[in-house]
């Protein structure tokens, strides 16, 4: 292919040559991000509530302490206290082969394990690592959000005869969610950017596409500038979506 120069220095032809890799990479980045936001939020809600679990009488009290509060605290501490990059490598090269392995996988083995690993290995490890990591951060957002709601709210709901469940889902969480939106949005943006780390285990997402081009041509401006712009546009879109959501859910606050 003839070199095509934009502005006298930008080799557009090498980007065009690898266009498919960038396009599929973009799709992969979006897919991973969406899955991890949804799963991470669900996990974060569960863990956030587990960290606040309390009961007055035995055995529910011990159950809350040892089966819910302690494990969830350890989980959050580990996933916030270790680098995401390390978690991705640990899960992909150590944890997942233990469970999914053609030879002696604890969960899946044989031919199914082989095809699963070859077609979705990096995707699976990446999504698991990113979800677990995001879940830890999001659980803190939920915990803070729930605790920020005045105690009187739940006392009032309970005195009206509402169950814990109904109190939580109909009174506390709707109010807390409004306050949690800005940090949740922050988290979604961080998640989108962190997905680039999964390229280390060979998942063909945006950063992988750029690394491939840089490796083939020893040119760094073109590929990394292109994906920077793509990430930037996506995070702008996410920020806009969060602002719209805030405006929508904020309406209840204006009286």
């Amino acid at each position: 292919m003839e070199p095509i120069l934009w502005f006298g220095w930008f080799r557009a032809d090498i980007i065009a040559e690898y266009a498919m890799l960038f396009w599929r990479g973009l799709q992969m980045t979006v897919t991973v991000t969406v899955i991890c936001i949804v799963q991470g939020t669900a996990l974060g809600l569960a863990v956030g509530m587990a960290r606040l679990a309390e009961a007055r009488h035995s055995p529910a009290r011990q159950l809350c302490t040892y089966a819910l509060r302690w494990p969830s605290t350890v989980y959050v501490s580990f996933f916030r206290g270790t680098p995401l990059f390390v978690q991705i490598l640990l899960i992909h090269f150590a944890v997942l082969p233990l469970f999914v392995n053609p030879a002696d996988g604890l969960l899946i083995s044989g031919e199914l394990a082989r095809s699963l690993k070859q077609n979705y290995g990096a995707f699976l490890s990446g999504v698991i690592a990113l979800t677990l990591n995001a879940g830890a951060y999001i659980s803190e957002i939920f915990r803070a959000g729930i605790q920020s709601i005045d105690r009187g709210q739940s006392e009032a709901a309970r005195s009206l005869g509402m169950s814990y469940r109904r109190t939580m889902f109909h009174v506390i969480l709707p109010q807390a969610f409004r306050r949690m939106l800005p940090p949740l949005g922050n988290n979604a943006i961080a998640l989108l950017k962190d997905s680039s780390l999964i390229s280390a285990i060979g998942l063909a997402e945006l950063a992988y596409a750029a690394r491939t081009v840089a490796g083939a041509y020893s040119r760094y401006w073109e590929p990394y500038l292109v994906i920077s712009l793509m990430y930037w546009v996506m995070t702008l879109g996410l920020a806009y979506a969060v602002r719209r959501l805030e405006a929508r859910y904020g309406r209840g606050d204006t009286r």
Partner: protein
């Protein structure tokens, strides 16, 4: 006026003498990326050892050069040569046309060939057999070039990673069907894993590793080449080769 002239001349002479004295005793800095066992790697005591290291030490001794080996990351090794941080590079660098345009190479000190690594049970006999299979390579390596040419630059079947050990881990865990890389490194890694074997494709071209100097540094290049000739002639080359690869050393072309 005359006095001034005389002073300047003598100062100039002094500077010249100083600089030439410096050039003679100057310790040359050798850059090598010590993550490429068995060519160059760090022992637990932070000593850099390997085939490349032994070769450059033998060459320097013959050529009467003082050297100091510095561990330089592969990604920045050519930049380090360009800006003068290192005077020469010996780091398993394959001599190719693209690199020859920007740097000068000594004559070959190692014959390299690409090698395929697969699981023991695999029926793969050559590169063509890898069509439709997942192939692991190091980004931007010769193996990457070969796979890209054979299966298409943007093929999702090519999985690119940062280093050979990672590619081999992926192969051991069945994440890819095969790995392509430099023979010395692949053979070394495969012998560490009983479940793997190597496959040599006779169609892979012969390649050579050379020592790299800044373009136009003819003085140093000539000294290194003379040293290399001496090292080949007195049998040190064969001895060093045997020590690291447990095989007879192949004859190397003079250019």
């Amino acid at each position: 006026m005359n006095l001034l002239k005389k002073t300047m001349v003598s100062l100039g002479l002094l500077a010249l003498a100083l600089s030439s004295a410096q050039a003679q005793n100057k310790e040359l800095v050798v850059g090598s990326s010590a993550t490429y066992r068995p060519f160059a790697y760090e022992t637990p005591s932070k000593e850099i050892v390997g085939y490349d290291v032994d070769m450059i030490k033998a060459i320097a001794q013959k050529a009467g050069l003082q050297i100091k080996i510095i561990n330089t990351p592969w990604t920045g090794i050519f930049a380090a040569l360009n800006n003068g941080d290192v005077d020469l590079v010996i780091s398993g660098v394959t001599i190719n046309e693209k690199r020859k345009q920007s740097y000068d190479f000594t004559s070959p000190y190692f014959e390299a060939r690409q090698l395929i690594a697969v699981q023991q049970a695999s029926t793969v006999k050559n590169l063509k057999d890898l069509a439709g299979k997942k192939v692991g390579v190091v980004t931007g390596s010769t193996g990457d070039d070969i796979a890209s040419r054979e299966f298409g630059k943007t093929s999702p079947d090519i999985r690119r990673f940062e280093s050979t050990p990672v590619v081999i881990s992926e192969l051991v865990n069945s994440g890819v069907d095969a790995a392509i890389g430099d023979n010395g490194v692949i053979a070394f890694r495969v012998q560490e894993h009983k479940s793997l074997k190597t496959v040599a494709d006779a169609n892979f071209p012969k390649e050579y590793f050379g020592i790299v100097v800044k373009q136009g540094n003819k003085v140093l290049l000539d000294k290194l080449n003379a040293g290399l000739v001496a090292v080949k002639a007195d049998g040190s080359y064969a001895q060093i080769y045997k020590q690291w690869f447990q095989a007879e050393a192949p004859a190397l072309p003079a250019q």
